[in-house]
Amino acid sequence: MIELNNIHVTFNPGTPLENHVLRGIDLRIESGEFVTVIGGNGAGKSTLLNVLAGEVLAEPGQVKIGERDVTRLPAFKRADLVARVYQDPLAGTCGTLTLEENMALACARGRRRGLRSALDTRLRGRLQENLARLGLGLENRLHDSIGLLSGGQRQAVSLLMAALQPMEILLLDEHTAALDPRIASFVLTLSADIIREQQLTALMVTHSMRQALDVGDRTVMMDQGEVAFDVKGEQREGLDVADLLKLFERARGQEVDDDSLLLG
């Protein structure tokens, strides 16, 4: 289970640029739950994700992942609990390393890394098996540097990489936003499949209301650093974009003013 208690984040505190990005977020995510997070620009979605990943530390606030209090742990110390796919397809991989080297890196996420050779026949077999499910022919390109792959291919590989090792939560940060629509839907379906198969707990940030409703089993809408509403189960069944807008208006007493949310 994931627990966020009264999370506040302020960038540049005490300066003219002070920005109170998260204003007291409380969120509990049950094991196996797939939460989609929606919100306009500056709503705090990515910061929330960064708080979970450890790239931003809450002040004040408490973050618990599994049974562990990870509030003060930097990203590399909680990598055994958190896996992540970034928005930028280039961010989740190392361009000059080969496909297999990138995947070997991810295979050791959260483990001690020693002087053993990073790759061996057994691991290569496992990686090929993994890549074959994409149906992109990448299983025959283990020795290619990953920079030769297209953005969509790289993002699909990033997703596989994230799922290679056990984790408490998978974080997807608008991971289809930079892709063309066809590849985006491929990556989204793949994400949903992997999350279901491995029964992962996941949190997906998205810009698109449609996407937020199409996948997952719970939707959280954020606005100005707070949770505007949080729907799941029966309440969420059969909702469409117009209903989300109504929910938002009821919760915040104002209309959605971010076009990108409606266009997505």
Binding site: A53, E55, P74, A75, F76, K77, A79, D80, V82, R84, Y86, A91, G92, T93, C94, G95, T96, L97, T98, E101, A104, L105, A106, A108, R109, G110, R111, R113, G114, L115, R116, S117, A118, L119, S145
Partner: protein, 293 residues
């Protein structure tokens, strides 16, 4: 160029091969432009020389030189990682500080080693000339170190180090302590450079406090020149390209300074170096432009 001059250039190229491997590690693998090497090269020479003149075992002295180099690299990396000093600037601070430290270690600007029992002494009793024996011995040592470096960079920890230099955000997301990786890599890099310095002092017969000037440029010449002539992403190809670059650089300098018709003299060495590095930087781009056109 005479055969002796050729073998001498080859020997220097092989010694600076250690420097090239060190610079490859900092500049290419960690993406850390490291001027510490201008200080850690003479540091290695100074430590080994003082130890040997003091009657110590030359092999142990060479090992101590590597440890001293590793310490210098650690300080630079620590300034960059913990004190958040811009990496280039941190390395300049180390470089300038090492000048004083090297003078302190040596107690005077230079130490002669010609008559001292260096690690090369056993080679002098061989039936072959020193000009042949030294490059062969150094070449074997260099290949052995290159092999070890390859093993390391292809290990789990080595892969983590490469990821740190390439994409540190992704690296920490995968549980890699990037600070530790930068410190370890810089320590290893400067240990290799100091090893080069220790070997240089022992084979050339003296350690001098000014011998480090331009070490980084020579290292870059080897890395950039070698890799532009022998492209290839794999670690094995890249490291061998650096060694090739180092030897080629020395041969080109030897040719430039020895060919009477060009009219260059020994004091033009640094000018020649700068021109060669400049060419190594520009030529690959020209080649690419021609391919596009």
């Amino acid at each position: 160029m005479s055969l002796i001059a050729f073998l001498g250039a080859l020997e220097l190229g092989l010694i600076f091969g250690f420097v090239a491997l060190g610079v490859y590690l900092s500049f290419r693998v960690l993406d850390f432009p490291d001027l510490t090497v201008d200080g850690s090269f003479p540091l290695g020479a100074a430590v080994a020389a003082v130890w040997i003149v003091g009657g110590g075992n030359p092999w142990l002295g060479t090992g101590l030189a590597m440890i001293a180099g590793a310490m210098a690299g650690t300080v630079t990396a620590w300034m960059a990682v913990k004190l958040k000093i811009l990496n280039l600037l941190a390395s300049i601070l180390s470089m300038i500080a090492l000048y004083s430290i090297n003078l302190r270690i040596m107690g005077r600007p230079n130490i002669a080693l010609l008559t001292e029992p260096t690690i090369f002494v056993p080679l002098e009793s061989l039936p072959v000339s020193r000009y042949v024996a030294f490059p062969i011995a150094i070449g074997i040592g260099l290949l052995f170190i290159t092999f070890l470096l390859n093993r390391f960079l292809n290990s789990e920890a080595g892969l983590a180090m490469r990821a740190t230099g390439e994409n540190s955000r992704m690296a920490s997301g995968n549980g890699i302590n990037t600070s530790v990786m930068v410190v370890a890599g810089m320590a290893l890099s400067n240990a290799l450079v100091a090893l080069g310095g220790a070997l240089f002092a022992q084979s050339q017969g003296s350690a001098d406090v000014t011998m480090g000037v331009g070490t980084i440029v020579v290292g870059l010449a080897a890395v950039i020149g070698g890799q532009s002539l022998i492209p290839g992403r794999s670690i094995l190809v890249a490291t061998l390209a650096c060694l090739f670059g180092s030897i080629l650089y020395r041969l080109m300098v030897a040719v430039a300074l020895n060919a009477d018709f060009i009219g260059l003299k020994a004091q033009d060495l640094n000018l020649v170096t700068a021109v060669l590095v400049g060419l190594a930087l520009v030529l690959p781009k020209l080649r690419r432009r021609r391919r596009v056109a």
